[in-house]
Each structure stands twice: as C-alpha cells, then as structure tokens.
Amino acid sequence: MKLIRVKYTKWFNILRDGISRNNPIVVAVLGICSALAVSNKVENAIAMGLGVTFVIMASSLTISLIRNIIPQKVRMVTYMVVISTFTISVQAFLQAYFMQIADALGAYVGLIITNCIVMGRQEAFAAKNPVKYSIIDGFASGMGYTFVLVTVAAIREVLAFGTLLNMQVMAPTWERWVVMAMAPGGFFVLALLIWVVRELIHYYEKPEQTL
C-alpha cells in the first residue's frame, strides 16, 4: 500500500524526472563537453559523475537557502561564485586522495563550473524551490548525468581497450578500436545512445525550420 502512494509524492516525481524523462543529457542535451571528453574510461566517468553530482547538490542547497536574499540582477554571478567554490573543493579532494584520476581528468574538473547542467538546475529549480526538494532535484540530475556518462564510457572502454574498470573482458587478441578512445568515438556512441533512449521514451524533436 505504501509503495503505491510513494509514486504520487513530490520527491518521487522530481527524482524520476531527473533520471529519465528530463534527463539532462539525452533530452535536454546539456553538459556534453565533459560527458564526451572524460568518458573513454569507466573510472574517469564515475569520478566525474560523482563530482558533478556533488557540485549540483551542494550548490542547489546553498542557492536554495539564500534564494530570497539574492538580488535579481546579480543572480548569475552569485551562482557562478557558489558553483566555482564547490568545484575547487572537488578538485582539491581529487588531488589529495585520487591523484591518478585527477591527472587523467586534467582541466576537465575545473570545467564543471561551466557545465550547463549545474547552472541550469540553479536557475530553473533551486532559485524557486525549498531546500529539501532542491537537494533531491540536484541528486536526480546528477544521477541522470552519471548514468549516461558511465554507459558511454563502458561502451567506449570495452571497444577501445578491451577492458572494463581495468579488468580484461575481451579476448587478449582483441583488435583495439583506437578511434573509440578519441573524440569521434565519443560523438558516435553518444549519438546512438540518444537515439536509442529517445525511441524508448518516445521523445522526438520537431524537424527544424530552415530559412
């Protein structure tokens, strides 16, 4: 009985929307840069996904707390400062405890700041909603992002290196698809993934009007 009622609560809806129906990458096509650049290995993808999730949740919490005292005109700069503060802490954390991953991600950790998903959630949700829902929304968007990132990374890592999380999964004679480790592989895998997911959830873009 209780399970059925959960379906109609607000937090459940927010969670479901973030992960599937409003998935930031597949439906809205935001935050692509980091999604493609770091998704050639699963461990990098997991680190990046968790980093972004943390930054979205923490900045949603902060923005939601101070949403009533931010002047309308300087709100963008305020978001920027909050987001970059948390990004710097993620960067410092990675450098302190996971030096190898920090090296592999390089400048892309810093680029969490300009990940449109983070900014988009602050503007669209955290600036208007109470703290507890903002945190759930941040978590859902972050998880939707991480899910896509890890899927793309798994496909690319298996094809490009024959490994999964650094464990050998393909036969040792596996001919490596070098292009999968480079930029074009990311583009192709993501395009096909978007296609598959859009067919599954029946979300289609209208054909663009050209001049």
Partner: protein, 193 residues
Amino acid sequence: MENIIEIIVSSLTDQNIALIYILGMCPLIAISTSVKNAKGMGYAVIFVVTLTGIINWPIYMLLKSTNSTQISLLVFIITIAATVQFLEMFLAKFSPKLYNAFGIYLPLITVNCAVLAVSLFFVNRDYTFVETAAYSFSAGVGWMIAIVLLAGIRQKINKFSNLPRGLTGKAIAFIVLGILSLAFIGFTGLSFF
C-alpha cells in the same frame, strides 16, 4: 616565431578546441541550426576568448607571485563574467549596431566552456604572454570553423534528407560532429618546419 606559427596552425587543425578537445559543445549544438547565427556566435566567441586570454594571463602571474593559484578557477570565471558584462554595456553604449548583431550571443558566452578552457590550458602549458594571445585568438577561430561547418551541413540535412524520428535534430548533429572530428584528426603530424 616558429613556435607561434605552430601554435596557431595546430589549434586550428589537429588541436581544434571544439572537434578534438570537445569544448563549447552546448552552444555549438544549440546555435548551429543556421549558418548566419553560427557566424554571429563565432565572431562573438573569437572576440571574448582573445580578450579574456589576454586579461587572464597577467592575473594568473599575479596569483602565482602571491602563491595563491588554488583560487585561480574562481578568479578566471569572475574575470570572464565581468568581461562579458562590461563588453555588453560598452557595445550597447558606443556601438549599437554591433550590439544588435552580438546581442543575444554575448550572455551565453559566460557558460561556454571553451572560454574557460583556454584560460586553463595556457596555465597547463606554461605559455608566455605572446603565445597566450596567439593561442586564444586561434582557438576562437578554430571554434568558429567548427560551428560554421556544422551549421552548413545541418542546413543541408534538414532540407534534403529523410531521417529516422529519433535521430532528428541534435542526435544527427553528433554524428556529423564525429565525422568532422575524424577529418580533423587527419591533420595530426602536420608541420611546416
């Protein structure tokens, strides 16, 4: 001098910031529906990237001399936001024609990762001031090449081809980008000297 030419050529071709480093994707996908808009966005990006690269270099040196490079991210992003804001006000006041042409693209540039990435890359690569200026300008031009190429191809696709429903719009743009990126990888190893 050879060094400068090498930086310029490589950031236009085999180190292209959009197609090889995959940066600035959100505006690249969103605005590449027509060549006209793509050009406008391209010019705005060249302008802002060059300006912020030149401004951020002395600021980074200042941070380095006071040993506080941890906060460089925060400082860079504030510089970029301030530059864009200032540019917007400056153009609105002194050159309304240019302002109308750039108008809608300028605010979007603050969240263009390519702009921040250029500032982070010159730090990683220890560029001198002249190298930084050359690199940031040519990175902007490289980004513009990518968006104009993509916009041209998408325009033709919309007119002449019959795509599966799920692939229309943004998904096909990624496939086109992948092919373009393959082509640009072909430039690897290019050298003049």
